[in-house]
Symmetry: D2
Subunit: 136 residues, 4 copies
Amino acid sequence: MDKQALAEFFTNDRFAALTGAELVEAGQGYCKTRLEIREHHLNAANVVQGGAIFTLADFAFAVASNSHGKIALAVNVNISFLKSVTKGTLIAEARELAQPGRLGAYEVRVTNEKGELVAQFNGMVYRKREELPVQA
Amino acid sequence: MDKQALAEFFTNDRFAALTGAELVEAGQGYCKTRLEIREHHLNAANVVQGGAIFTLADFAFAVASNSHGKIALAVNVNISFLKSVTKGTLIAEARELAQPGRLGAYEVRVTNEKGELVAQFNGMVYRKREELPVQA
Amino acid sequence: MDKQALAEFFTNDRFAALTGAELVEAGQGYCKTRLEIREHHLNAANVVQGGAIFTLADFAFAVASNSHGKIALAVNVNISFLKSVTKGTLIAEARELAQPGRLGAYEVRVTNEKGELVAQFNGMVYRKREELPVQA
Amino acid sequence: MDKQALAEFFTNDRFAALTGAELVEAGQGYCKTRLEIREHHLNAANVVQGGAIFTLADFAFAVASNSHGKIALAVNVNISFLKSVTKGTLIAEARELAQPGRLGAYEVRVTNEKGELVAQFNGMVYRKREELPVQA
């Protein structure tokens, strides 16, 4: 699937939209997303909440893992938080770690504007036989 | 810290508020949170987005791990998604797996209204020497 | 499957045997294993190597997840190391977190002789349609 | 620290030695290890046991994370098993994901002779103030 078809399908991810995560690029086994940090992303300690970072990364993971046209469900994610952030823009880049099969492994790196690693996200999906409900 | 002091501090978690996660109970090393599923929690496949489930669990994790009065930063989380959900109410319960020290380990179980396990979340924190900025 | 059938099949786990991990109890979705710490389990810092603890826990995970008679392959494991150990006996107890399906989630708690948590292990399996090659 | 100093210190990792994991290369924040698969690495299903793969990767992780001269303790590891193996040689390569600090993040990729990804290992360490007990 190309970026346009993926973007059209994923425009319906309402929680990503609520969070403010935007799709920047997408292709076979790849996706880049972006989040402009605003006050509603902060937690009680005044840094970006883990859930906001997770959602940004998870959105990139969902697009990359569904890019082969079969529905892919996240089964497990491991995320390491390496740097606190309070403002600016976050970028998440998802890529495939192995040839896509019934199970798939992806990594997503979340970086700040200086390219510093904010979070490392590793996710696995289980791929259904069902096709993504998009128009060819 | 008791529930009132924790609730007061965590009322400032703006991303949890945006998501709609509510604090139900809190105490030493323990917290229960709740999320009423609404349409804006759904993803493109019409099930609750992983980020919404993560945020609910992460909120319970943050409260439980900060309940000893020292600032606790999440360093790693592993989450397994066991059941897709589309509506109803989700409950997350966080509890401490080991005596609190410099490093802490917590588990959060996310269940639906029937008590079925929706997600299993395991998180580690690094505890700073700094006290939580709350009034005694 | 009962303990005897599982024990017979798993007696062929040669790496568990090399490590010295022993099967103590087993049943539907459950297993307990044990390791007597010896000098060859230590690492360069003179504490039990992470791989020895992992192997003990993984053995319990394998037995518990295969106990329903279908071949279960580990797809992901997350392990948190909470306490260093140098001697004595370690016990690992695996239990099922959710109803067994195509995907399964298990937790294994590794404790020392005082019952203190040494490591928390969470694993997921993918279950094949193939039966375990054991005699009925 | 250079390869020689690291190799000398880690020659004392007795569990890595029992497993047969060998140090191939090491440097600042980096390590490569190797395992020649033998029958005693197999599990009851006749594939290499997860614990053997973990130990190989963990050995590389330990060397890479201790290479800055401060004692680094593993606090959490997440491992995804992507391909079953039965024979040949496994290679594990560890590298640092972020600038070394009190907490450190590492990834280890385990591949077979064809360069296919067998397992993806992500680990975090907590670094003590204590120096590694090696001669300058």
